[in-house]
């Protein structure tokens, strides 16, 4: 049994929206990391939920940095701590926009240089801070304020981009499975070098579902195969429990889509494309798990 520490590093007074799953997840991330850490946060919802100076809702040092700069800033921090012989962990908690769009260059650089840090991208599939515009991570068919008719481009596959850097650890997680997240953060922090966790974080106002459904929506993402939980340690892929179950028996995709107002304009054709992408991703994983690539 994994024991989750009782210490809280994020206080209840955040200004997050009701049902904000990225804030719930951050709570577990911080519990897994413990107090000897610095959280680096680029512009995103997490820069707002901390509250307003001189108050803060966080009980660990949080370094806020410009939107594109999180991974590079963390590189500098990590280099300085290692030079000083200090073990303090450097963790980036960034949104999908700050990761797959404007922050991608700095992120790729930090991974290529083998920076010792953990980069967590919480993915609410749009720019939440500025009121839900599209990001490269917004799925096909989703309405955002800059895709009022539904997005016509598919979601960028950031995981395969990061995998191409051959990091020692990369995993996906989902806010609806906090224990899985906790274990993955713990595992990541036990390894040296650049680690990446891609966390799906349903966002009630952005995805347009009632706040109390936030766990249900997250679970459906996994059960329909829209979001696959896995981890890759030193190249070896392992599918996580909830997704192993989903691979055997999947809930129809519609169950997930129809809970969210952002998909109300989605076309039949787009649904089929989403379905094909799910099938393809699951097939690729199933194939690799059966015959690990050398």
């Amino acid at each position: 049994m994994t024991e989750i520490p009782k210490e809280e590093y994020i206080l209840k007074c955040t200004s997050a929206c009701a049902g904000c799953s990225s804030t719930l997840s951050l709570r577990y991330v911080l519990k897994a990391a413990g107090p000897d850490m610095v959280l680096v946060v680029p512009a995103c919802c997490t820069s707002v939920i901390q509250g307003t100076y001189p108050r803060t809702a966080m009980n660990i040092p949080v370094y806020n940095i410009a939107f594109a700069a999180a991974a590079a800033c963390a590189s500098g921090m990590s280099a300085a701590y290692r030079k000083k012989g200090v073990k303090t962990r450097v963790i980036v908690y960034a949104g999908d926009g700050g990761t797959v769009d404007i922050g991608l260059q700095a992120l790729s650089g930090a991974f290529e240089r083998g920076t010792d840090f953990l980069y967590i991208c919480y993915d609410n599939e749009a720019y939440g801070n500025t009121g839900m515009q599209r990001s490269g991570s917004t799925p096909l068919g989703a309405i955002t304020t800059t895709t009022p008719g539904g997005k016509v481009h598919p979601k960028k596959d950031i995981d395969r981009i990061i995998e191409a850097h051959n990091p020692p650890y990369i995993a996906t997680a989902c806010s609806a499975y906090p224990l899985d997240l906790f274990q993955k953060v713990t595992k990541a922090l036990s390894l040296e070098g650049p680690k990446f966790i891609h966390l799906l974080a349903p966002c009630p106002p952005g995805w347009r579902f009632p706040a109390e459904k936030t766990v249900e929506v997250g679970k459906l993402a996994v059960k329909t195969g829209s979001w696959i939980l896995w981890e890759r340690e030193h190249g070896t892929l392992q599918v996580s429990g909830p997704s192993r179950a989903a691979m055997k028996k999947r809930v129809p995709l519609d169950e997930y889509l129809k809970m969210q107002g952002r998909f109300r304009n989605i076309t039949e054709q787009q649904k089929q494309e989403l379905q094909r992408n799910i099938d393809r991703a699951l097939a690729r994983i199933a194939c690799e798990v059966k015959q690990p690539c050398s």
């Binding site: 200004s15 997050a16 929206c17 009701a18 307003t52 106002p205």
Partner: protein, 175 residues
Amino acid sequence: MYEIRIHSRGGQGGVTAARLLADAAFRGGKYATASPFYGAERRGAPVVSFVRIDDRPIKVYSQIQHPDMVVVLDPSIMEAVDIFQGLKSEGEILLNSSHPITFEGYRTHCVDLTGIAIARTLVVAGSPVVNTPLLGALAKVGIISLDAARAAIRGMFSDNRNVQAAEDAYGELVL
């Protein structure tokens, strides 16, 4: 110049209310500005917006210091904010409330905007829409005409229940 401060909660439509009011005043031949004050706050947090109405172009952008009227869309806000701050003596207060409340030294008008919205099934994402009935109440108080209120509402909402809600509030508010 007539200055109005609207207190509401984030997500309650206070900003839209300010906009509708300025729009209606403008349609009534006046100059009007509406400016929401944005904090970095989210849904549920107290928000204020300002509306100015005048016969001449309005050049002031700073926040209203001494309103002629204060509108309170959610009375529970009074526990957190001082709605009387700077309010002119003899100033008016318009309260969204199902029961009458009076405040000494001010002219207080109470109308059950929430009840009207619910009766007209004007509920969006679980919250009753109080800003369109508010316009009817403001017309009754004489800030704008009922016709201008109707026109402004029609300009923003296609659903006629919004206009009906404004008419309900106009009828229900007793001066």
